[in-house]
Symmetry: C2
Subunit: 210 residues, 2 copies
DNA sequence: ATCAAGTCTGTAACTTGTTCTACCTTAGCG
DNA sequence: CGCTAAGGTAGAACAAGTTACAGACTTGAT
């Protein structure tokens, strides 16, 4: 994790936006989140977003080349909020596994508050094809950063990174099953706690005690 | 594996189909798989499927109420093939974790042979909303059955079931990252092997040896 | 054989994501 | 000031999923 990864909103070679442009972008993202929060994925209709943001349809497409791009960007935005919020009150548990599970459940409860928004963002994320890879990757790196923060692992071993990857997989997939009504919140909690055991399994400190 | 779980294609209250109807259904599923194999999710266009199956558009929609339903049903179909194939040559490893990892990697290689088909099916699966829950659930149960088969767990403990759930999460999500080009096959293998460690962690036989 | 109910067919219409076009506005620059 | 290029706007047009509908075709019971 080099200093480079300052979670820049946009990938490298983006020309700097003027103030008016930055404001437009913000209005679009806000409109997107607002519509998503009301009616989920389907309610985020490009014409409506454009209108709500006070922008022409063509402009919307200039800023975000597809609905999926838009929603993934919305997710980046929300995740960034979440990350800063979480940093203010770090998890209290003693063991890394505990802390990660706690953090993820906290994030989960945040999503619960706006289930429709969560639905829209997660559906977009998993539906994204190759053309959205860079953006999806950014989201993934943000998530990884959140988990590593919770673990308190400064120099994660490759093994730990694998564990984190698996935790991310579980996190996404569990979210989906919950959003589509196929799993209860309790079930999600169990799954998260189960997968977090992998952390103990791969943490150097604990290797000596098993 | 109770006698109940003989993976009925359609949910309970479906009136039995006549022979011609069964044939139509089959033609539709085959057309769907054929088109998906050629061009992935986008190539499965309802008008084309209808034409290729020699059926009117309205009929297609009577059999499968949406494109997502159709593709999820296609996945059920393919998974059933896979399950019977796998049963013929069970995995050889000694430890349950090994066997599960082997089985999943075998399934994975099967999907690799038709990456576009895999793409279409998995995208549909994760994009499915509540209206497709029953069908998605069927797919999930099939997957669970395959994993439990590989574990050789006749009477899985709740703990083991949690582990299986997490493995399924990882399997789906890893598949997605591979399909969208964000992870290599080697990466997927590592993730699968990592998550399979949970099996050793929860297997009663191994509890005594650790 | 006939009739009613349920299926299919062909086709058009509607919705929403996406693209295109023709025309304005703005910002920088000589 | 006046020019130019990039960025914006409004609105039409297009594509594919979905729905609607009028007219055949099947099927099963009488």
């Amino acid at each position: 994790m080099t200093a480079e990864s300052r979670a820049d909103h946009r990938p490298s070679a983006a020309p700097p936006l003027t103030e008016r442009q930055e404001a437009r972008r913000r209005r679009i993202l806000d409109a997107s989140a607002r519509l998503a929060a009301r009616g989920g994925f389907d309610a985020v209709q490009m014409r409506e977003v454009a209108e709500a943001a006070g922008v022409a349809l063509g402009t919307l497409y200039r800023y975000f080349p597809s609905k999926i791009h838009l929603l993934v960007a919305t997710m980046q935005d929300q995740l960034q909020h979440l990350h800063t919020t979480l940093r203010k009150r770090p998890p209290a548990g003693a063991a890394p596994a505990k802390r990660v599970a706690e953090t993820l459940m906290r994030a989960f409860r945040a999503l619960q508050r706006e289930p429709q928004l969560a639905d829209a963002m997660v559906r977009a994320l998993t539906f994204a094809d190759r053309s959205v890879s860079p953006e999806v990757d950014t989201v993934s790196r943000l998530t990884t950063a959140i988990i590593l923060d919770a673990m308190g692992a400064e120099q994660p071993t490759p093994e730990q990174l694998s564990a984190v990857r698996v935790i991310e997989h579980t996190w996404h997939s569990a979210l989906i099953t919950w959003l589509s009504g196929r799993a209860s919140i309790a079930q999600v909690k169990i799954d998260i706690e189960t997968v977090c055991r992998l952390i103990d399994l791969t943490s150097p400190e604990h290797a000596t005690t098993r």
